[in-house]
Symmetry: C3
Subunit: 347 residues, 3 copies
């Protein structure tokens, strides 16, 4: 067991587009929130609600914007984008499983697999035939790759990932446990009351720098491929139907569901539990708030929402529901009033 990591501020900011106000030799042993930090910690200030802690923080250094720096009594790492700078610095303090390159003897390999010697295949993996795994890629314990799968350079699959045949995974892409990629899309033809499976002949293409959260599932295409483009970030428990296309750098929060053949643009931000029906198009730069249901294409960038929100005491909720279901009657009552008044006016 090695000791805790320890870096000077000069080490931590090397190569970053930041300036330091304070002592470059100050030793940092970890990160903490601005309110909970102790000596040796580096913290960050990105949300104005936390500015009040700046005067009293015990952190040894704080990452912040130029305009906050003048109020900072400790070492200040001044950044045009403090949260990004924090992401880079926090990377020095990440702990993870020990990972050595090489193929664990318990792994089961198919025929004609090409595994780069710098790649890691962990215990109990099952790798199909004609699979290629590029340099520095990691396949976590118990993960299963079907035939003809290809995994890009430095991609990282955690434990218990399932990749069906012919799926391609880009460089530096990270996939969490429980993810299933390439299962059959949901297609059935009804013949005389019985559903018959429609073969799903496409596969799935996952781009570079994609992140996919735990227990998310992405179905293979019916004819063409399902496609997740470079830089897409998917949270946990998301369901992606067959032939969906998700554009570059789009980010989707947990429990969202995208039904088959829908095409989502670039740089979209899609909130948790959002539901998007099939066969529609979402343009680039659309922002969709959490729990929204999208039933038709969105063609203009902007922020979109649906439904009725706001948790209230259940009694009030019940009254509101009665009123909602009686809206037709209310409209009728207003119409009657309008008629009476119109009649009165005429008289």
């Amino acid at each position: 067991m090695k000791g805790k990591p320890q870096y000077t501020l000069a080490d931590l900011i090397a190569g970053l587009d930041v300036s330091l106000q304070g002592d470059p030799n100050c030793l940092i042993t970890g990160v903490a929130t601005i309110q909970d930090a102790e000596a040796g910690h580096v913290s960050f200030l990105t949300n104005s609600l936390y500015r009040k802690y700046l005067a009293t923080t015990r952190a040894s250094a704080v990452i912040l914007s130029g305009k906050d720096a003048e109020h900072c009594g400790v070492n200040a790492i001044i950044s045009p984008n403090p949260y990004y700078t924090y992401a880079k610095i926090a990377g020095y303090f990440e702990q993870a499983d020990a990972r050595k390159p090489g193929i664990h003897p318990s792994a089961v390999l198919g025929e004609n697999v090409k595994i780069d010697p710098t790649a890691r295949i962990a215990a109990n993996c099952v790798i199909g035939n004609d699979v290629s795994i590029a340099a520095h890629a990691e396949i976590g314990a118990g993960s299963i790759l079907g035939d003809h799968v290809s995994v890009g350079e430095s991609a990282k699959l955690d434990a218990h990932v399932t990749i069906y045949h012919h799926v391609t995974i880009g460089k530096r892409t990270c996939i969490a446990s429980g993810v299933v990629i390439g299962s059959d899309g949901f297609g059935f033809a009804n013949q005389k009351g019985v559903w018959h499976k429609v073969p799903q002949l496409g596969s799935v293409e996952i781009g570079d720098d994609v992140d996919i959260g735990a227990n998310t599932s992405i179905d293979r295409g019916a004819i063409e491929n399902t496609i997740i483009r470079n830089g897409v970030k998917l949270d946990n428990q998301i369901q992606i139907g067959h032939n969906v296309v998700i554009g570059e750098n789009t980010i989707i929060a947990g429990c969202a569901g995208i039904a088959g053949s829908t095409v989502i643009g670039k740089n979209c931000m899609i909130g948790g539990r959002t539901n998007i029906i099939g066969h529609i198009t979402i343009c680039d730069n659309a922002m969709i708030t959490a729990t929204t249901g999208v039933e038709k294409s969105i063609t203009e960038p902007g922020m979109y929402s649906s439904g009725v929100v706001g948790a209230v005491p259940t009694l009030e909720f019940k009254k509101n529901n009665v009123r909602f279901h009686q809206l037709g009657k209310l409209v009728e009552r207003v119409r009657t009033l309008e008629k009476i008044l119109k009649k009165e006016e005429k008289e």
Copy 2:
């Protein structure tokens, strides 16, 4: 590596209830959409929106209805149910993992297991005691079967499927990766503020010709069994509570949730993200649109929906929400107007 499959039209339609207008010896090498097809492809026309592509398609053959056939300039496979015919023909072009019968040496078998010699147990499976696996069944890599499980003829479990003890799985049933069947139902008795687990003594019965999508979970029953009847089709990430019964040929789209003890009839169509509460009954032939919440029994066939839908710009959404929560005041204002007018009338 074998070459691409190639069939004559005569081969592809053998045994199907279709007629051919054109050349039975035309060679087909794959399927494609009507708009993207190239020479050698067979395509299909089932949606009138795509009829415009029929005149110009480069497909070598198109599967279509009799009334569309007269406008078809290429080989026509005329079918009373073109999508079903497509499903059958597409099956010739399906690629899949190489699968040889037999028990992989890395599989761990319990005592008293009965595995048909034509069945396949893939790498790293764990099979409990007293399990029976019928002819031509396939258990995918890393799948785990508890004690006393039985798997029917030609059933196909993909990789990473988990089946708890005493679950039975019917013939030709297909189960995708990440599926969990037979986990304990959610039952707890509260004693002095603390929740105590109620033992879940039932199991799960899965019928014949059932399809279950990735990461779906089906709990075991509390006393009786949870039952999924023949021909049911379940998409990905569906949650089925204990003692649910789902009737024959009912189809349920992704992310739906069915709470405990609810009984769903035959031939129902249930949309994605639908939520059905516990202890109710849904009659045969009910159709429930996506994202609907069902809080009481449905006793008449028909199409049902709930909630407020329609994504709009967030500002408009916020105004609508204020109006919704002020519905009580609006009703009051209308009532006041009615009283005034009634008084005026009397005067």
Copy 3:
């Protein structure tokens, strides 16, 4: 194969706070619902809807309250909390996989693991470095534990559970198949349109006597830990974001989602498919009905709900949706009527 278990009523009630009206030597061979019970079964009555079956039940004994006991024609187990008593008695009839202590030879163990000799490590488990597993704990087949994980006494992980590095699991905690604990929280910093991962440096603490249902996922914290306190019960397919804290004895039904940094109090009851946004607080003893969306903190105990519920025929649903989206116009019409009447009054 052993014969079916069989107990006298005296055996079954030993140690419970109940009284018996009837024959303590009556033999019981199983449990059943009050309407379906046969001779040899013990049943229970907790829901008044089922009281009608009490007169005619064929059960050999019924667990019920004192006030129901006088109408009971068979042996009566009289309890102040019949459902809790049922939970205890049903435990005698639970069947499960055969489980012997010890480490299966196919399990792969890291360095410096401490496994109590009474613990059980099933086939194909992968256990990381520096893991500790306490007495009588069970790790189900194919489960994977990262480095520095600790599992408490008598904890029970089913098959295919994934636990990331540094997660701690309390005593007697039960985790179902497909659960993922400790995957990275969803944190990304945007720099010039590209999302950069924010390292997730915290872990997850799971308390004692927690239950976690199939395919549920719990992310590790960004800086501090995500915390699930003692006695919490989580159903299937729940998503818990990073840095969430869930208080003691809170129970959450299936498909709920709790976004990052939200703190939930003790003894809360949270319905299925509930969605709780991030960075808010739910007080102790709050009850939230199924499918509710919670967008701001709840500070008073009570029952809360949101949205519009009630499945209706789709045609009616469509009309209601049009009316909802025209609420602004309706309010305007009422305002016009009010102005006219006000003017009339003045005249």
